[in-house]
Subunit: 230 residues, 2 copies
């Protein structure tokens, strides 16, 4: 039975959710096919059956799951014969920590840098909603909120230091091969790459090579996604 994967859509079929990207990488890691059901910001009735309003939502047979972490845990449990998304027990704890770290310590920097750019890839029919909801949340216009100054970029890069130091000794956070600990941050960088031409990483940064390896993973699927050059 085909897995149905409800995920946010932007212009030119851009996949514009960091959480959606994490699930997409996890599905690829498990070697699972899925049918993407595009969801617009203002067309949330399409996922009303899930009992809530946030993407991503996954429908796997009789099971409906929302929240990317819950979805990934479902995939890990439901498909034990496929490659593990976490590795071992410590690997799952690592993935959870990196996910929370990305969401709470990295996203605020990232949003500050790219929100204005992301607005330009929001579908025309969603733009009013996007602008109003974000401007209400941040208490200012998208244009006033967004700041791509060298200082802001440096603060974002400094926030990534724990990841950078770990990657000094191995190709992926998880070791020789990637796991969800890698996808947690990578998914957020994919969201940025889909929406903003800003060069977030310097080519001399170990994180640049790490991202490059992930862009080329799964036959280059992440790198071929519509977006700006990394």
């Amino acid at each position: 039975m085909t897995i149905r994967f409800y995920d946010l859509v932007g212009t030119d079929q851009r996949r514009m959710s960091p959480y959606g990207w994490r699930v997409r990488m996890a599905l690829a890691h498990k070697g699972l096919d899925s049918e993407w059901v595009p969801v617009r910001f203002t067309d949330k009735e399409i996922i009303g059956f899930s009992g809530q309003k946030l993407v991503p939502v996954l429908v796997d047979g009789d099971t409906t799951i929302h929240d990317s972490w819950a979805i990934v845990n479902h995939l890990e449990t439901a498909y034990p014969d496929r490659p593990s998304i976490f590795g071992d027990s410590g690997g799952k704890a690592l993935a959870e920590f990196v996910m929370h770290w990305t969401n709470t310590q990295v996203h605020p920097h990232l949003i500050k840098l790219i929100l204005g750019d992301v607005f330009r890839i929001v579908l025309p029919e969603d733009q009013s909603y996007f602008r109003e909801s974000r401007e209400k949340r941040f208490g200012m216009t998208l244009e006033a909120f967004t700041d791509q100054s060298p200082e802001r970029l440096a603060a974002f890069r400094a926030a990534l230091e724990p990841m950078r130091l770990c990657l000094a000794s191995r190709p992926y956070l998880a070791g020789a091969a990637p796991s969800y600990a890698d996808y947690a941050l990578f998914g957020s960088l994919q969201w940025a790459r889909c929406g903003s031409p800003l060069k977030l990483l310097d080519p001399s940064d170990p994180l640049y090579g790490w991202r490059q390896r992930l862009l080329e993973s799964f036959d280059g699927m992440p790198g071929k996604a519509v977006g700006f050059a990394a």
Copy 2:
């Protein structure tokens, strides 16, 4: 053969190095006895044999190791029959990430809050060195640098959010029992507790209960160490 453990000393035999505390917890975790050799800030000749000037230093038989991460990895490898400090392979990656995160993202907040207090537990003969080296590093007096305002305390607590979110679902970061992933942050909080009466954590914070459990671990060894009430 007794393991010799060279670690920083302050007034009243206080153990005043976050890195020393991590090693001390790791030694306890392995159930290894060691002889503490107190090292003053201005008496680094005592560790000159290690070929460098930083504590902690561990001498285990013919092996001399410095750098807390290298020491802990030595203990893990040299004593494979004792309880693992990391758990599994993913657990080691988790511990390394949390260590780098603590050092680069948590310590700056912590130092800003407690440096002025820590000065008061530096041994009299070390105070000039401590003040001069820190004031040179931060470009201002210890008193001007230290800031215990509610905003600074809130920023410190906000930086701990990834750890807090993980602890919502289990008693220790590593799971049902602590590992070096827990000791990495705990060691830094012990350093703070030895030097500052500031209440870093609110009793309603899941991190408060987590720290309490670790204070009571190993027959209460960490909680009995000279310091302020947690």
